[in-house]
Symmetry: C2
Subunit: 308 residues, 2 copies
Amino acid sequence: MWVGLGLIFATFINLAIMLELPKGKLISVGGAEDKGTDLEQGFIQRNRLNFFELGILKRIVNELGGTDKRIEVITTASSIPVEVGDNYLDAFGKIGCTNIGIIDIRKREDVFEEEFINRVKNADGIMFTGGDQLRLSSIFGGSEIYNILHDRYQNEEGFIIAGTSAGAMAMSNTMIYQGKSELAHLKGEVKITTGLAFIGNVIIDSHFDKRGRFNRLAQAVASNPQCTGIGLGEDTGVIVSGGNHLEVVGSGAVVIVDGRDMRYNNITDVNMGEPIAVENLRVNILVRGNQYLLKERKFISGSTSTNA
Amino acid sequence: MWVGLGLIFATFINLAIMLELPKGKLISVGGAEDKGTDLEQGFIQRNRLNFFELGILKRIVNELGGTDKRIEVITTASSIPVEVGDNYLDAFGKIGCTNIGIIDIRKREDVFEEEFINRVKNADGIMFTGGDQLRLSSIFGGSEIYNILHDRYQNEEGFIIAGTSAGAMAMSNTMIYQGKSELAHLKGEVKITTGLAFIGNVIIDSHFDKRGRFNRLAQAVASNPQCTGIGLGEDTGVIVSGGNHLEVVGSGAVVIVDGRDMRYNNITDVNMGEPIAVENLRVNILVRGNQYLLKERKFISGSTSTNA
């Protein structure tokens, strides 16, 4: 009986913790503004990760508190981790960072290595690179590193988890891991699983300007309109504070798909492979300086002057 | 003075005619469901225009009233008119049509030829093929054929103007003629001019599922939310009756972008080439059987069962 009560008590404690706003920040970036790089295809041209130069990387470093802060770059998602790691080292180096580490966890077994666990414990911020987000969820899910990241994000003021492309998409609880743009209007073509779940009730998509992914985010949102879709353009990101307040950074657009007022939809009526109908999605397109409150589903224009 | 009064009177007559609902129908199709054909690039693989087999072409013929009705296929938009014309002849032939003509007006001078004018006067329906919609507007605009088409569409019950891809996009008053998907979130990158104007207050885009064109339709709508954006997927079309009632046909999706409730936007604040922010677009995704009233901006689900 005491064991039972203990479990219930532990559950309450966990619930209470979950209800508290996270003290850390998430920074999700839609992908690099480049034409020669496709990390999903394992192809990269060096020095093409322009977004580093355009301010997002600097912003991450500023949020962390300076160029001496320790950032661990986790290259697990990529199939070419050495090239990607070097690229991040170059880029962080260019803006004066002196304390960058690369953690290349290749397989599930590596995730239990003491060295990596300690480095994640001691870092000031974490950066997940692009690649395949399914590698992130399947390798990190439920591991000690996963728990440390959740715990630090929840409780440590100033702790930052950043991610680009696959690294951004893995941040949400609901994670798209596959779905060709040209088929994404068909039921079942958008493949979803559980992500690293640093934030709930959202679905993050990346490369949103260049890869025509509106339909896939719409399908993901229509399947459960409790979730807000966040489509991140290239060289564009969001900084999420308190698990709710979202600020856009970078040079492109962020498309927010809000299904709260969704009315008719045919998702449960049609067969797999049939096209999906949805009435009344609300769509906001945000650019640098615009903000959004996820819980309130509220657009805040802020200052968007680009002449300043 | 009598001339002046006459002009005023004529204007009133014209206005009265414009206020009457058109008796004809428009059938706009988003493009062929194929991988081997790109009319904009002047490339086609024969017999790949599958949408003909999937019912849309049959529906056009049914709307016309039978396989003996005279349809003139206008190949002006295409840079490979002979191949495209043959393809349409094959496809219409397959469903038993016996009275199909090809009108290949290549340049502005051709539009004045008596033979073509008479054929447009006498056809039961017109089909504009894909290609470059700017060829359609620049070659037909203001010509006698243009006037005949407007007059017959307005006044003749059963007269049909159909169009695929460029042929669909040219139907609206506001016509997108250029705009790369990957740049369409930037001000000025979506190029717009006046189309053949069979229908006002809409902007029609095509190849919507495969080419990632949400941003360009959003920009076009945000610039003037009086216009409703209609994004037609491949092998998917709309039949527009009375200039207002829209019914979806075909195998894919139609995305309706409604800007009536648009709030904040930065379009007049930012420089050319800067990204555009828009608050509160309303988006509906329609499939076969769904309907939409343009003036009322109303989604009607109708029957969407695909098991029937």
